[in-house]
């Protein structure tokens, strides 16, 4: 390494004394090669950090080039849907009796389909589902279906079954267990113990979601009391280091510092991404630009005590929107549901020249969107849902664009900082139409404080801090957009968001996040 590079490394660690800094300054002036090497070393370190961070973030958020396995729960088979639990229990008891009396050497479990086992099927074995229909069949008739790509380790196979789920989803139908027997599925965050039921344990980068279809399970998470979860219940346990992890201290009750808002947002523009969903179960619907289905996001909101923010494609017709309402009525998330209809035409993913058209045609803030939303809200409320229509108002947007929304009585939510640019002048926020505010992409801690101060001066109760670092590499962006945005994301934003969020929270602000960015 050249002198300039070596000296910059010392400089960057803060190890240079005042006289050394003076000497380095003199040489930087006198020796252009030394200065070039110094600058090159600084650039290398900065670029290396940014590129590594960018690559890691894209991996965490499922960027196609570095994507980790996408975890999805598949629909239960018709057989399991219709097979009564009582029959399963009888089969289990019968199998247990036969196993004990007639075939003492019978295996406790066997694999089905493309479930690969490293070594024998015994404690310590690793299981990997290499395709669909992979399952572990227990001697008692219980069946654990693995989604393709799911991995687990066998911790025990005597007196039931004890699995550690590494990634993916296990869809379980468990026979009634004999005394002393149990089926347990553990993840890094939680342990689900079954008495005899049907349930799902889903493990992703953000944590674990447990949903119970039939019966009762016990869910234990580190540092939290064991919780019994009955049919219809669902619970989310965040992974360590997840953005919201610190806020979910109390699994069994409302957190000390509830998130006032959980946003399920999308910004897709392309028509194909906004097509009506095809899944029969609205709980399985994944909105464009989201990595999570409605059931998962509703589970997070329920646990966090958050409101749910749904941004629905304008292309959806009323029947589709109402099916979502039906599902939510059957699975009420607990808090408010904030519904936003239409695209956000100011986003960089919108093709050049389409912004005006988007606004005129009825994208968010346009007359069509407002009218349709106003008509939809009574239908949702008739289902017992606590719902509000929402228009989000980024500060650079003109009041004209949002005049219909404001006049239409929608709740206006101001974005006080806009991605992926700098924090904008807070005074530009069209305060007349604002009911709530969220902070997005704060630049620095100082900006967070001033944002809170501004919001309170306006008599507003800050809704939250919106953190969605991965959104702008989403599918809505053109390749050119993506290149620019990724370049931007390699910049300082990601490093400062944590700091800004800490300040925001310490000042009393809540947190809000998009479902595409629930991990750090």
């Amino acid at each position: 390494m050249s002198d300039g590079a070596v000296d910059w490394e010392r400089f960057s660690t803060g190890a240079m004394a005042a006289d050394e800094l003076a000497a380095a300054s003199r040489r930087l002036v006198a020796d252009p090669a030394y200065a070039a090497a110094w600058l090159r070393a600084a650039r290398f370190e900065g670029d290396l950090a940014a590129l590594v961070r960018s690559r890691a973030q894209r991996a965490e958020h499922g960027h196609p080039s570095v994507r980790r396995p996408v975890l999805r729960r598949r629909a239960p088979s018709a057989r399991r849907r219709w097979l009564p639990a009582a029959v399963l229990a009888a089969v289990a008891v019968l199998a247990l009796a036969i196993g004990l009396l007639a075939w003492p050497e019978a295996p406790a479990a066997r694999v089905h389909g493309p479930l690969v086992v490293s070594g024998g099927l015994a404690p310590g074995a690793r299981l990997h589902a290499e395709g669909a229909s992979a399952a572990l069949l227990l001697a008692d008739g219980s069946r654990l279906d693995f989604t393709s790509g799911a991995t687990a380790e066998v911790a025990a196979l005597d007196a039931g079954c004890d699995l550690v789920l590494g990634a993916g989803t296990i869809d379980a139908v468990i026979a009634a267990q004999a005394p002393g027997h149990r089926v347990r599925i553990r993840t890094h965050e939680a342990a689900v113990t079954v008495v005899g039921t049907r349930f799902t344990v889903q493990r992703g980068a953000e944590g674990t979601v447990v949903r119970v279809v039939e019966g009762v399970v016990e869910v234990a998470a580190a540092g939290r009391p064991t919780r019994r979860l009955a049919a219809g219940g669902q619970v989310a346990i965040p992974a360590a280091g997840a953005w919201f992890g610190a806020d979910l201290e109390h699994l069994d009750g409302p957190p000390d510092r509830p998130w006032p808002l959980l946003r399920w947002a999308h910004r897709a523009w392309q028509e194909e991404q906004c097509a009506a969903p095809t899944a029969t179960d609205p709980g399985r619907w994944v909105l464009p630009n989201s990595r999570h289905d409605l059931a998962t996001v509703a589970a997070w909101a329920q646990v966090a005590g958050s409101d749910l923010w749904l941004v629905l494609p304008l292309a959806w017709d009323d029947a589709v929107i109402d099916r979502m309402a039906d599902w939510l009525a059957a699975h009420p998330p607990g808090g408010r549901i904030l519904v936003q209809l239409g695209h956000e035409p100011w986003n960089p993913g919108v093709p050049d020249g389409r912004v005006a058209q988007a606004a005129a045609d009825g994208a968010l803030g346009g007359r069509v969107a407002v009218t349709r939303l106003q008509a939809a809200l009574p239908r949702w409320r008739a289902r017992g849902l606590q719902v509000e229509g929402v228009a989000s108002l980024p500060p650079e947007t003109t009041a004209v664009l949002f005049a219909p929304a404001i006049a239409g009585g929608l709740t206006g939510i101001a974005h006080l900082a806009v991605r992926p640019g700098p924090v904008l002048n807070l005074l530009e926020v069209p305060a007349d139409g604002v009911d709530d505010v969220i902070l997005r992409r704060a630049a620095a801690a100082d900006e967070v404080g001033s944002t809170l101060a501004w919001a309170r001066a306006q008599g507003l109760d800050p809704l939250g801090f919106d953190v969605e670092p991965a959104v702008w590499t989403g599918a809505q962006a053109s390749p050119r957009d993506r290149e620019r945005v990724e370049a931007f994301l390699r910049g300082p934003w990601s490093g400062l968001q944590r700091q800004a969020l800490q300040v925001w929270r310490s000042a009393g602000g809540g947190a809000v996040t998009g479902s595409s960015a629930v991990a750090p």
């Binding site: 670029d47 290396l48 910049g491 300082p492």
Partner: protein
């Protein structure tokens, strides 16, 4: 959309930001403080975008604003009794930064390519250090290694990447 100031700024800043960040890192030892100054520079550029002369390179304007931000930060640091580089070094590095924008961009693209070849333990080490922000002592504790060993490993990875960049830049396109 081309007339949308935010969009316009987005385009310009995406091109200038690596050069500004590099300059900040060369002038300000503390990485967090350097990042803050980059943010302040971006904010100032956006706020005063109407003063930008499109006939001139945006990068040059951005680097000039960045220099002013560094000067302000250095004044504050000196008032706290902290030593900094001097004005001459600031001018020298800014000049080099402006002259070598294209060179450094090529190096950066080469680094991006070289990083694709880093996998396994080396990738894990880089992610721990640069993404998770773990210093060598924390990494050493997590991996049951000696701190010095972690430092050496990181240093070797950097050396390998530098060598890779050199090879790529020297090889015919």
């Amino acid at each position: 959309m081309a007339t949308d100031p935010h969009w316009r700024f987005h385009q310009l800043w995406a091109e200038a930001q690596p050069a500004v960040t590099g300059l900040m890192r060369s002038l300000v030892a503390d990485r967090v403080a350097a990042d803050d100054l980059v943010q302040e520079t971006a904010l100032a550029l956006f706020t005063h975008l109407d003063r930008y002369d499109p006939e001139r390179p945006f990068v040059a304007w951005a680097l000039a604003v960045a220099r002013n931000k560094v000067r302000d930060a250095w004044r504050a640091a000196r008032r706290r009794g902290e030593a900094t580089l001097d004005e001459g070094a600031l001018a020298a590095l800014a000049a080099v930064g402006e002259e070598t924008v294209e060179d450094l961009d090529r190096e950066r693209r080469a680094l991006e390519e070289c990083l694709r070849g880093v996998e396994g333990r080396n990738r894990d080490l880089l992610e721990r250090h640069y993404h998770q922000g773990e210093d060598p002592a924390i990494i050493a504790a997590a991996l049951a290694l000696k701190v010095e060993h972690v430092r050496v490993l990181l240093s070797r990875i950097r050396q390998g990447l530098r060598a890779c960049i050199k090879r790529r830049l020297e090889s015919p396109a």
